[in-house]
């Protein structure tokens, strides 16, 4: 039984207009996503902007209403399938947001920011609460004396760690991390990525890691799903995706990753041209009339790709 299972998740946003503000059509931001994550693993959700990866993450935690589908957490449905909300699942699933500058309330002190989830779910005395917050700050590598400071007094990496302290305050089991390092400098990025790996081991966390950066995804994830226009084009282990990509879209994404070896430039330019030509030529074969991906079919035990039907 998978730890987190998402079945046929759909999130459609209505487009309203006309005289009575009727629903004209809907935007299918997420259009039938299935995924399963085992405990302690990191699952990467990759896609370009507008592919629906963030909406998927937000829908799983309940920040976007889902149109249809079910989300099962530890085998029990938490969203969809007639279930409104299982009390307590909000404790077990937490989120780390993309932008550490806008996800922390500038008017609140660190103490109040990190204590907020504790205040919602646990009845602690002021003293206990303070001690817990100080412990959490130490855990994320910040000095416990900083509890009375405000977010603007911290650097980007430190802010992101405050966000992480808040996310782990209730000892969650699953963390949804939405582009947790894309607003950070390279060296700070390294710090946060290392740290996420450390607390994963310490707290036996499971991650749903959302990113557009394939280098980071490769570094962090065990399994990967690649999204395009609300659907999966390919899903598999990190090795499946990077070493044996099947879908033309995945191939194109992977060849677009900058290469650190300048002596390969000429060869790479030619290779990319070839992949681009193949992409343009085979586009109609790999996508349906609306430009959407076909249903996934198995390539191997772990590897699925949205390949067209043969013949």
């Amino acid at each position: 039984m998978p730890f987190l299972e998402v079945q046929d998740l759909k999130v459609h946003f209505p487009v309203r207009g006309g005289i009575f503000n009727r629903k004209l059509r809907s935007i299918k931001a997420v259009d039938g996503i299935r995924l399963a994550i085992e405990q302690g693993q990191t699952y990467g959700l990759v896609g370009e902007s507008g592919s629906g990866k963030t909406t998927t993450g937000r829908a799983i935690i309940g920040l976007n209403p889902i149109t249809s589908g079910t989300v099962l957490f530890e085998g029990k449905p938490i969203l969809g399938g007639g279930v409104r909300s299982r009390p307590g699942f909000r404790r077990d699933i937490q989120m780390i947001f993309q932008d550490p500058y806008s996800s922390l309330n500038p008017k609140k002190r660190v103490l109040d920011i990190v204590a907020e989830p504790l205040r919602n779910f646990e009845k602690l005395s002021a003293q206990e609460e303070r001690r817990r917050v100080q412990q959490l700050l130490e855990q994320v590598g910040l000095s416990p004396e900083t509890i009375h400071k405000y977010p603007h007094e911290f650097s980007g990496g430190q802010r992101q760690r405050i966000g992480i302290a808040r996310a782990i305050a209730l000892k969650p089991k699953l963390i949804i991390a939405d582009e947790p390092v894309s607003a950070l400098d390279v060296s700070v990025q390294a710090q946060v990525l290392n740290f996420l790996k450390d607390i994963q081991k310490q707290l036996k966390l499971t991650y749903l890691f959302i990113s557009h950066d394939l280098g980071i995804i490769r570094h962090m994830c065990d399994h990967i799903g690649i999204m395009y226009k609300g659907r999966y084009v390919e899903q598999g282990t990190t090795a499946d995706i990077f070493e044996n990509p099947q879908h033309i879209y995945t191939k194109r994404l992977i060849t677009a990753i900058p290469d650190m070896d300048p002596s390969k430039r000429e060869r790479l330019i030619k290779f990319r041209e070839a992949v681009k030509a193949e992409y343009e030529q085979a586009y109609e074969q790999y996508f349906d009339e609306e430009g959407l991906a076909y249903p996934l079919r198995p390539v191997s035990k772990t590897h699925l790709a949205a390949l067209p039907e043969k013949g």
């Binding site: 370009e48 902007s49 650097s155 990525l193 950066d213 280098g215 900058p258 002596s263």
Partner: protein, 338 residues
């Protein structure tokens, strides 16, 4: 080939904060040749964008010292009226954020036309429009006649960036300054924009200053690289040397901190401490020394200068000689939390 286009000598750009001036760009010297891409790499606050703005004379309230020679003429000393003849004409700039670089109330075609009109007033309206359509085609915009009539908000981020590039290259500049041209773009779009810049350089033999924080972009594009830290250049080398034989502790640390295919799953290197703010920069001695406290103080120079350790390979300070990563000594990764 090898013709020098831009020579910057001892450029210092300072901003006034309260009653003092603080140097965001501190004593920077570099050259850019024709048909060459010089990448300037650094993290936020390193002064790389302030340097680009200084070259273009776009700072309004900064104190600028030193010289910027473009084809032998010191453009830092030019009055705005003369500088305006060069800017947008021989000097082109691609800005980081296309949404704030474009006028939201003007269709994009007219914005490109404006730069042509400004520098070539004799070109007829018909000819101008034809040139704009050509430019739109050149930067890879499908249906250029249609796009000409669109406002910036009607275009996607990648398309807007192409418009900014079209403006920058409208008058076939000899020197192109690209300030983070692909930040915030998806990988496939990034690749297209980079290919476009590379093609433009090859076609017109222009010199390009490419400012970025992304070492992957540098590895793909640059001929030579200057690494900036806290307002100073700490290392300059050709791209092959920089990636295979970097010497300055900062360059080496940066290269270790990016997840790469080779070192998958291992720990990334973390640079200790944080980048000091403009007001708290150490004015004396090596600026990187607080980030590598395990290196003996005597390894640093009192007044760190640039040392040419191989032809064309310059490194600041002498601390590179005794630098090693902490885990090389202690055998085992260390990091911020204990």
């Amino acid at each position: 080939m090898n013709e020098e286009l831009l020579r910057i000598e001892n450029l210092t750009t300072s901003f006034r904060i309260l009653d003092d001036y603080y140097a965001a760009v501190d004593d920077v010297s570099l050259t850019v040749r024709k048909n060459e891409i010089l990448a300037i790499v650094g993290e936020s606050g390193s002064g790389k964008s302030a340097l680009a703005f200084s070259i273009m004379g776009l700072h309004t309230r900064a104190r600028i010292e030193g010289s910027i020679f473009y084809k032998g003429q010191d453009i830092a000393a030019l009055p705005p009226s003369k500088l305006n003849k060069l800017r947008g004409n021989e000097l082109g700039m691609i800005f980081q954020d296309p949404l704030s670089a474009l006028n939201p109330l003007m269709v994009v075609g007219s914005q490109i036309e404006e730069v042509i009109l400004l520098h070539h007033p004799k070109v007829s309206a018909k000819e101008r429009k034809r040139k704009v359509i050509d430019l739109l085609t050149k930067v890879g915009i499908p249906r250029p006649e249609h796009t000409y009539e669109l406002f910036p908000h009607e275009l996607s981020g990648g398309m807007r960036q192409r418009i900014v590039i079209a403006i920058a290259i409208a008058n076939e500049p000899k020197l192109l300054i690209a300030d983070e041209p692909t930040t915030a773009l998806d990988v496939t779009i990034q690749l297209q924009i980079l290919e476009l810049i590379r093609r433009l350089k090859n076609d017109s033999e222009a010199g390009v200053v490419l400012i970025t924080h992304d070492l992957g972009v540098v590895a793909e594009m640059a001929d030579r690289v200057a690494v900036m830290y806290a307002g100073q250049i700490v290392e300059i080398a050709d791209i092959y040397t920089l990636l295979s034989d970097a010497r300055h502790p900062y360059t080496r640390s940066l290269l270790q901190s990016i997840p790469s295919a080779g070192s998958a799953k291992s720990r990334l290197h973390v640079i200790q401490g944080i980048v000091p703010s403009l007001q708290n920069l150490p004015r004396q001695g090596c600026r990187f020394r607080t980030r590598i406290p395990w290196i003996d103080e005597s390894a640093h120079e009192e007044q760190p200068g640039m040392h040419e350790i191989a032809p064309g390979h310059f490194v600041r300070c002498t601390c590179y000689k005794s630098f090693r990563f902490p885990d090389q000594k202690e055998g085992g990764a260390r990091h911020a939390i204990s």
